[in-house]
Symmetry: D2
Subunit: 267 residues, 4 copies
């Protein structure tokens, strides 16, 4: 199980913050479509991306309950590897091609922060929760039927940064209806040496690569999202002008690769 | 939504630590049968209970991912009300009748501590995790099939107090096979006035009452449990001499009542 | 170390949620005087207390970094017993005598919840932080001098419920200037048996008793406090109309007693 | 406050995981000298470092309560920036010069993880606690006098990875007696692109640079440390064969630079 992929570079690879790829994920997703002020979206884009004017500020909020495993049954150690996530994707263009860019993302697990940074997801720590479904019937377990409601929230450093609700209407029979722009991230790692602060060691526009992507039990309906004003946080700049569809589904995929689009790293 | 049931007794009942009953629960259970030293089990029993000699130290460890709701859609506020739990039940006799007694229980949620104390569950704070099942297929999501493995752990104040694994063998078709002794707790609330410390305001042997108990997707197989030695913790006194069956299932029920068996409160 | 004071009533008294009294405390306090709407204060008072009309809605917010110990060096186990606290005291009258009543209090530690409930403090779980002073000079360590600023915040279930700042002006040479109304709490423990929900097992108006109260390094200055509006929380009903003095000091005391003023428990 | 130093690269620099340098720190340190098996120390060293044979496996454990601030009063936002840390330094040689290398380090704050990675500290998330001193006298507040005891612990993913005690004997009048090898880290950031996993984007041996280093209230005495065996953790490979001095002191410094010793990054 020796790994030189992540720190700490421990002799037997056990104490590393996360096992090396391949990485395998399964999770429950709550997704909410919304429209922010187009200028607020544009202000978040790196130089290499252009605003997608036709999208009119379209964005999506994701709340996910994740289970992760590497190649050594990490799913049997949920205290270390199970986690929850909240992130936002905004519509943009890369060389005239529609893409989705991730400006903000929060997880409650350090292994997920490490993997995320490697993929270009700008992860911070947060506390994220969503209403769950259980196999058993009962008042405390919503069913996957029209009218069922699911709540979700995300907090960072003790402030509520996002709150959402999805009310189911109908099952999604055509997965293509879920759409899917490629996700584009800014992979970035600074230099601390005096005089080098503006010359990051890593600064690349990258595109996420997912293998074996699979969806089950996808439902859609009405989404509602708020991004409350918080001290010293900018996420509320994206506060929804209006909300659209909401989705709930279970998703799995694996990660073994990353595609560099533009490399601005300072060598 | 006014409630005078729990503190704080807030004017509109919103800031109370938990809504009043009825309480509704749904959750995923991992259960492991084990046998501890009979003397260790006997040492935990309150005066009103007798050791169940035939049980030979039999006990059960429960790891549960819970969703709670009261009567006002509390399941839509998972940051406040969703929680995880670990507890142990030991076999005992009450007036020659087989019962199960809960000596130790840990949850990661204050509303659950409040409700638990009211029911006689001696709850402390802990961090509890178990492997999850998702609707989607994938390497990171175990299926409910023979051979699938589920891990679970519990920690208190930074020490690992329990670790378990369940390997599925077969679906449980006869729910009666799951057995079920009534759960008996010691409901207790101290007096702090000088000279009154040995005269608790509440000290009752009580029996849990559950309504609308329902089970789904019950599987059984092999259980493995360790209760590691920890500083200033006594749970390891129950360290398994041998382990037996393991179970995984989804369970729901409601709570609206509690039965007093013996009342030793000092009035 | 056998204890029958708190649950769990473990054989050797180690696994109990908190050691029995005597309880010893030392901590750093940030205190902010403020005035809420008098009607909002009145709405919080139990029947046995009357509004203190002359106080015009006066209240105080406390942020405390606590160290606790019992009689067995619990201060050497800070993972289990060190904690942080936020609470509000509002002015009131009991039989024409000025008192302070605690409607809301939050701690990040389960042992503190258990002790608090026993004293009548209606504790819930929260995350609380305050700026610290260190013995060493440096930009990251404010000194106890005029102009130094201290920040503090409290959150519950991922929502920011309070935020405060104290700017020091002068050392407090006369501790009497700190004032001190007796603290009066509502000690309360419910009954769950069907038909008994309105007949709490414990429902007493009590007065806190502190021994060996000691203050050091007390400073006063300007206090600022906000109590933001939060979903399903009522604390913002006390939102400051204006703020007054702020204080920072170190305090120690012991607790071995509690005084019952009125007992409305249902026997 | 615009920053392009850390992700997320937010428009106004507020939502970044940590402000850019300069970084200012003040903290309370508990330090314990110990000797591990020399082979265990050697197994941790990167290729560029050699075992310090004369050190005979000497290492140090640090438990620190930190306050951080950047240039914008971040110390007034302790919920986001105050943190606790545990790490180990092992003696080694770099080009025949005595240095200290950090193989393992844990913090409870994401901003500290981000800064640490930039400095080459291989930080993971943990929960760390130490006994505190308060200005006030009292049973719950140890004084800086001979015989006083301080406890500390660190946990990761619910397992106790380190536990220490320092018993004070005498004040340290000569700060030089505290010794101080330069701290050498392995600054590392992986590549995820398929086929590039063994070609990290950043892989440099670096030396920490600290400005305005200041110490106050330094005491020394007896140190005791255990590094318990934990599942899937390698830290216990360094379990003390014997322990030596223990120290308690307050320390402050600033960070604005980092010195590269050897750069093995794959360009």
């Amino acid at each position: 199980m020796k790994s030189n992929f992540f720190v700490p570079l421990a002799p037997r690879g056990l104490s590393t913050i996360s096992p090396p790829p391949p990485w395998h994920y399964a999770g429950d997703f709550l997704i909410i479509d919304f429209w922010a002020r187009p200028e607020a979206v544009a202000a978040l884009l790196p130089d290499e991306l252009q605003p997608d004017v036709k999208a009119e500020g379209h964005a999506q909020a994701y709340f996910i309950d994740w289970q992760f495993t590497g190649e050594h049954d990490e799913l049997l150690d949920p205290a270390r590897y199970q986690y929850r996530e909240f992130f936002i994707l905004v519509d943009a263009l890369f060389q005239d091609k529609p893409v989705a860019f991730c400006p903000y993302i929060f997880v409650d697990n350090d292994a997920a922060i490490a993997r995320g940074w490697t993929q270009g997801f700008p992860k911070r720590h947060g506390l994220i929760y969503q209403t769950r479904v259980f196999a058993v019937n009962g008042i405390a377990s919503p069913k996957l039927v029209s009218g069922s409601r699911f709540g979700a929230s995300a907090s960072a450093a003790g402030q509520r940064i996002a709150q959402g609700t999805v009310t189911l209407e109908k099952a999604v029979t055509d997965a293509a209806a879920l759409g899917s722009r490629p996700t584009v991230n800014l992979r970035h790692f600074p230099r601390l040496a005096a005089g080098q602060w503006e010359r990051p060691a890593v600064h690349e526009l990258v595109e996420s690569v997912m293998d074996h992507f699979s969806v089950a039990d996808a439902w859609m309906g009405k989404g509602e999202l708020t991004l409350p004003v918080c001290q010293n946080e900018e996420i509320a700049d994206l506060a929804p002008i209006r909300c659209g569809n909401g989705y709930r589904m279970s998703v799995s995929y694996s990660v073994t690769d990353l595609k560099t689009l533009v490399d601005h790293s300072f060598k």
